[in-house]
Symmetry: C2
Subunit: 420 residues, 2 copies
């Protein structure tokens, strides 16, 4: 590997039109509802401006040009270039500050809260058409994530998968984080959807954001304490209902919900399955539902699009799995590393071996999204960073047994892995 430039693929990016411009992608019958929704969104922005004017205007003014990359492909490419990013994964809801880049009827990150299935599908479809257009420019650099309000109508969701599978640049689908009063994701009613996604090789995503706000009484701390869990939750509903067993090719990605939660789930779940006095009665009941240890589904079926990972997550990378976690800039959201990604990488990756860095920054994402590293390497060579640029030792490689050595719980509980 030497001192070659890393192919950086940001596993967490956002795109979206200024809300009123979505009208041209919307089925005409929804225009009256759309006008009402736009007016409501604009009123919400006004309220936000009243309470937080300085931050909002400061952010929007100082990033005016770069924020247009949410919908303008040439600006997006320029911003990726400046950030050293060869390709990125495109979720909806470009504007995390005042919501003026959301799909019609909030069919994006908050889709579960849209109770009207017709509106949810209409908004998703409008965004997906825009997304296909955006990704048709520089498709080798884009992994567009189509919106599918799965729990609102599991049958119609399958049609949407089939449409998405035929759009160049669309390389995954996102489902609502919360199913709310609809059937939970462990239900058989979703089986044709998992089958369709596996067949089309489209990884399924949740993205953090949604949570049961009605339980929080406006206490932001409670929301922060839970939001990761709600985004990650569907992953184990799929795992333990056997979805990955029935569809070994099915991939599920939890995006912008950190990665630290994987550490305790791996040992705890393996203990339930594989050993330990307290859980023998449980293990017997689990038999037959899954054929591997729960931890072994990470990196083949379950992934984390962990965005700008914390130092602690990078330290624990071998427990989390350097085949399971993907870094991301969260462009163009203010909580991410854009437009200062180089400085962030220099600070956080200095001690990480080169091969592990290559996987976390791009290798895993290339596999999950089917991006062509041969096409991306020349882009990286033009705009990217070498190990030396990141103050790394270019000769530092991970021990071949690093991952295996990190699984302390196999020895503690006398658990035998199903793969060597």
């Amino acid at each position: 590997m030497g001192n070659e430039k890393y192919v950086i693929i940001s596993a967490d990016g956002h795109c979206g039109l200024p809300i009123h411009e979505y009208e041209r992608y919307l089925d005409p019958g929804f225009r009256p509802a759309f006008a009402t929704w736009v007016a409501q969104k604009e009123a919400e922005r006004k309220l936000k401006l009243e309470s937080n004017y300085e931050f909002i205007m400061g952010w929007e003014t100082s990033n005016e040009e770069g924020l247009r990359g949410a919908y303008d492909p040439s600006v997006r490419d320029k911003e990726l270039d400046a950030d050293g990013v060869a390709a990125d994964v495109l979720f909806a809801d470009a504007d995390a500050v005042t919501g003026m880049g959301s799909p019609p009827f909030d069919a994006g990150l908050a889709a579960g809260m849209q109770l009207d299935a017709e509106l949810a599908f209409a908004g998703a479809r409008a965004h997906n058409r825009f997304l296909a257009d955006l990704c048709s420019t520089s498709p080798e650099r884009r992994a567009g994530i189509a919106l599918i309000p799965l729990c609102h109508d599991p049958i119609r969701a399958v049609d949407e998968v089939e449409w998405a599978a035929n759009q160049p640049g669309i390389r995954g689908v996102m489902i609502p984080t919360m199913w709310r009063d609809r059937p939970p994701y462990s239900s058989e009613v979703y089986e044709p959807f998992w089958a369709a996604c596996a067949a089309a090789n489209l990884p399924v995503h949740t993205h953090s954001g949604e949570a049961p706000h009605e339980d929080y009484n406006d206490h932001l701390g409670i929301y922060l304490a839970e939001v990761v869990w709600w985004a990650a939750r569907p992953s184990w509903h799929l795992l333990f209902s056997g979805a990955f067993e029935r569809h070994p090719n099915l991939k599920f990605v939890v995006t912008e919900a950190a990665a630290y939660w994987i550490a305790d789930t791996k040992w705890k779940w393996d203990q339930y399955m594989g050993g330990g006095h307290t859980t023998k009665k449980m293990a017997a009941l689990l038999e037959g539902k899954i054929s591997k240890l729960p931890s072994e589904y990470f990196g083949t079926n379950i992934f984390a699009g962990a965005s700008t990972m914390s130092k602690e997550e990078l330290r624990r990378r071998n427990v989390l799995g350097t085949d399971a976690v993907m870094w991301g800039t969260d462009y163009p959201h203010p909580e991410g590393s854009w437009p200062n990604t180089f400085a962030k990488l220099q600070k956080d990756f200095v001690d990480i071996p080169v091969d592990e860095t290559a996987r976390i920054l791009g290798g895993v994402a290339a596999g999950v999204y089917g991006l062509d590293l041969a096409k991306l390497q020349p882009i990286a060579d033009r705009i990217g960073y070498t190990p030396t640029d990141l103050n790394q030792d270019p000769d530092l490689m991970a021990s071949p047994t690093a991952e295996r050595d990190a699984k302390w719980w196999l020895e503690d509980y006398g658990i035998t892995p199903t793969r060597p």
Copy 2:
């Protein structure tokens, strides 16, 4: 401390009458409903026997005498003695195998699922009367946890606290783990209850068991993956809604839901509050809700009755806080260490310093439940274990800065603790 015997207080024990015997503690008006409930429980046992006869009969036959300690105080003392336990904390639902030791109308660990508030309070009251009787024998060895269906009727719950505060041996209260369709625990409607518990110095508990089974489609793995989270959840609803700020004396204990979840919550929550580029906008919004770092509420307001802790939790004890975690045998449940507690302690505590062991095995619990160590030491001297018995080095003491040194995230994020 030297080689003195440890005062072991099990922070997780269970008690309960054989179900039909609860009738004499029940208000007479509930007898018809009680007869129906008993018949239903007996039918459930029959079903369980059909599918799992060997395990159930094996467990019940080989522990026939010891299981009577669920309600017979002299047998309980004998079993505690044999296990080296000086005192224990008594939750409801003695029979984890077929549910034949549950409070009327399942008002114990599954109280949230009892939709009828009248039945929930009647069942709780019957159990609480039995509990007061049981704890009146050897009250220095018992911390009875009264059942209070808080979310079913917050006003009536306050009356129940006042009753419990006057019963010798009742030293805490348990509320339903899940509020379901009732107001969440961050709601103002519960404020008089938190005030009453703080005034009476009765720690409030959740105990693992309940979870939204309707989401699981009978997939046991999903239940196992979530049950700890549902039990722990109310702790941060209280924290971030400011309950510990308004009532600095209020204690909340999460029982039999492990302790590992505390590790990631501490650094992540402190990061939200105290620093880190990504969360500056959040920190501003949190200001004023709580006055200390979230991690600083563990050990003063939030505790884990962690039962038979895993080796990993003992290794991470200084992150979890040896002032916040309490060991327990789970007597008389089969998933605990009873009746082989000595062997379990020998295996798991060999490397742990003596002072930390003393806190985890009993010191923290003595403080939380107001148990008198001076009265328990002579019992421990008669039945307990020395550091040497546990194969420990009796001279090994923790570094005075062990806890502070374990908080790596303060340095990583440049966070200043509010207490030294």
